[in-house]
Symmetry: C2
Subunit: 241 residues, 2 copies
């Protein structure tokens, strides 16, 4: 393993093992190579391997027993999140037979930043937006954190409607938006920020997938801008062509 640059060796190794487990290198219940072998393979001290394993054990992915070895405890199949014109969180999760849930964790009314004015095509003097922060959960596990912005003048009661119904689709419908479609999605990745780590229960420094999207109504007018951060180790995005 290559020497440093601000990321501890044990963390790099832990992330490697995590993706190996996810890719099925060792099946659930399967046995990992011995600490001996792993330390030789990564070219590090056994203590370092043990630190990495202990991290994954604490997260319930692995378990070690003295004299026996280290075993894969849980290899949760990653959720798949299709990106298309009509993706709705709850439908997707339900289709994969998991219990969906959204939790309103913050909201507010604020002045739109320039990039938001452009994306929502706000006109002069109507630059106020509602901001809605929602944590998405599947089977009790946090999978994504989304920040949503809506033009405040068009959707004055959006926050309370969402609070009542727990659904953005329904909150928009209450304001006369019968249908909306996803126009464009931008996808990037970066390291999680501390607040994101907290909500998504990620290790600090874990990667997040970020999607930026614009939803438009039937007339093509933007009704919602949304920035969603997915826990990259729990979800995979797919695009069908």
């Amino acid at each position: 393993m290559e020497r440093t640059a601000g990321v501890a060796l044990w963390r790099q190794i832990a992330e490697r093992l995590r993706t190996d487990i996810r890719n099925g290198t060792w099946k659930e219940g399967g046995k990992l190579p011995t600490e001996q072998v792993l330390s030789a393979r990564f070219g590090v001290n056994r203590h370092t391997i043990r630190r990495a394993i202990s991290e994954l054990s604490a997260q319930g992915l692995l378990s070690s027993r003295q004299g026996r070895g280290t075993f894969v405890e849980n290899a949760p199949s990653p959720l798949t999140y299709p990106i298309g014109p009509r993706t709705r969180f709850s439908e997707i999760i339900s289709r994969q037979s998991r219990e969906p849930g959204g939790r309103l964790i913050g909201s507010g009314r604020e002045a739109a930043q320039p990039w938001l004015v452009e994306k929502l095509r706000l006109s002069l003097g109507q630059e106020a937006v509602h901001r809605l922060e929602v944590l998405h959960v599947a089977d009790g596990i946090a999978v994504s954190l989304s920040t949503n912005w809506f033009p405040a003048h068009r959707f004055p009661d959006l926050v309370s409607r969402y609070a009542e119904t727990g659904s953005i689709t329904k909150a928009l419908a209450a304001h006369g938006v019968a249908d909306y479609i996803r126009k464009k999605t931008e996808i990037s990745a970066r390291l999680a920020e501390p607040e994101e780590s907290r909500w998504l229960q990620l290790a600090e420094g874990a990667p997040v997938l970020v999607t930026d999207l614009v939803n438009v109504d039937e007339a093509g007018t933007p009704v919602q801008v949304s920035r969603t951060r997915f826990a990259a180790d729990r979800i995979q995005l797919t695009v069908e062509n």
Copy 2:
């Protein structure tokens, strides 16, 4: 800034500043807040801020001058990589008026892993594949590293054809594949592995966007499986709906 294991504070802050610069929080030529202010904002010692700034300076993103301040030297607009049924690397890059380049960095013939057998729909006894490792470059900057697999029995001379033409499209055409389209794309993110860091000239522990795709010919038969790792700080994927 929150105290946490495995990732140095200065790295977390460097990554934050990098995404802020990319998001245009400070324009090119713009002045960053003083180290004083930044250290207060992140709740860390000024030394730590300086370490983060020095990292970004070494990468040519920032520059500091005594008595004046720290300035944004380079805010390269991120390349946008659209994902659709007919995306070809060179077309995309050219359209954004950058000089594209692909470099063959490795190849080989090997037995297909089970998941490859499934994705390429290989029949029994024809499980050999060609592997092609290509580094993609735009304007002299590495943007992605892709591993490509092809059924060896159908495309016996693929590697040499690619070496001659520098184009997968042409190498496939030489084997009678007039056209192909992208069937499905899976997108995930993880930390770069050491070898990826080396090729993409990434800092260790930097995130990569990973896309897995299957290309099929006009008859719908898989001709290529490809896994591409993008430097997440240099590229953004987009999906048009």
